[in-house]
Symmetry: C2
Subunit: 190 residues, 2 copies
DNA sequence: CGGAATCTTGAAAGTGTTCAAATCAAGTGG
DNA sequence: CCACTTGATTTGAACACTTTCAAGATTCCG
């Protein structure tokens, strides 16, 4: 819970007492490597905060191939926002890449939390502003770079993932095949 | 201003009096076709609400080609969130595709508005939630579909744009060349 | 040690781009 | 209202980037 509490304090001013109340809306989950928090077709009842470990979000296309759309590590939020907002079925899987400690909050508790603690409106406004901003830049990169350039950019900007995530998931995230990643790496034996 | 007022009321409960105060934080702009609201390299001082017309956001890549990353029509917000948050230079241009009526708010007024009218925290939290959700789905489509499929999907989901936006901008938005769009269209003379 | 999962290799096939030129459409000034 | 100029769309051939498939090499884990 301390990781979340600390994260909230980075964004808004809130007393220790209120913070103690806030974190009680969350429940703690342990998820071991390769286990799913939610799978395609299920009603999306929670959003997740990573206090330890690394999650990925992916879907399976009509050829049966997994495409990873997001990673989340410590202090990142992970969710299917739209499915959560509407309490509808998700098209995604959320899976642990490493053993994880997760804080989860249900839709009901989310609404209650925002009602009882209006300063959390500001916290989530800031979180979503930031997440939206990151997505706008991500779209730009997807439009600007070739697959090979995406790899070099990812490698330069987020080297921690290369340490913690197997190659075939990196390829899945960058939108190409493991074979092609292998080829790119061969060219840059540096 | 009515368009914005109406939009706010769709998301939060707010009295007519407060609404009247809220809209005063915005200034009204007329932007004629092909004119820019902001260009690459400028400090991003505003976010924009489209009350009439159609905007696009684009950048220019190293080959000098424009890539359109977003469109916005009536009642949509348009912004470079990150540059706005940090009052930094933007990498984007925001341009009118048609003659537009725009409501703009500065960073200072945005902060003031949120401070004076806390219910606007909720409004923007909901706006960003939704925008973030839309982006998550957009990323999924970009990962899931070929360029040709993206066109068919766009055509099916947002036909109003095909009416209002020239083909070369559609191509620019879908991430391919006008020539290729032409080829796709030829195959589907239906 | 053995088996499964991951990573690499290379050739053939596909998807989308580039370039140059032709056609079509639209707005402007006379 | 026509003629002209510019902007937008189409065509086709050659090329580049990325995938597919099938196989082999390597690493990880029980």
């Amino acid at each position: 819970m301390e990781v979340l509490a600390h994260h909230i304090q980075k964004f808004i001013q809130v007393s220790e007492e209120e913070l103690a109340e806030i974190v009680q809306y969350f429940k703690r989950l342990h998820v071991s490597k390769k286990k799913n928090l939610i799978v395609e077709g299920e009603i999306c009842k929670h959003i997740y905060f990573v206090s330890k470990g690394l999650l990925r979000k992916f879907f399976i296309n009509d050829k049966g191939i997994e495409r990873t759309t997001e990673f989340a590590l410590e202090s990142w939020w992970m969710m299917d926002v739209l499915a959560f907002k509407h309490t509808s079925t998700t098209e995604f899987h959320i899976q642990a890449v490493e053993d994880c400690e997760i804080l989860a909050i249900t839709g009901e508790n989310y609404k209650l939390l925002l009602k009882q603690h209006p300063s959390m409106e500001q916290y989530f406004r800031l979180i979503f502003e930031k997440a939206y901003g990151a997505m706008q830049m991500r779209i730009k990169f997807l439009y600007d770079f070739s697959r090979e350039e995406l790899y070099h950019h990812f490698r330069a900007q987020q080297p921690e993932f290369l340490q913690r995530v197997p190659q075939y998931l990196i390829a899945s995230y960058l939108g190409f095949t493991p074979e092609y990643l292998s080829e790119i790496r061969k060219k840059n034996i540096s």
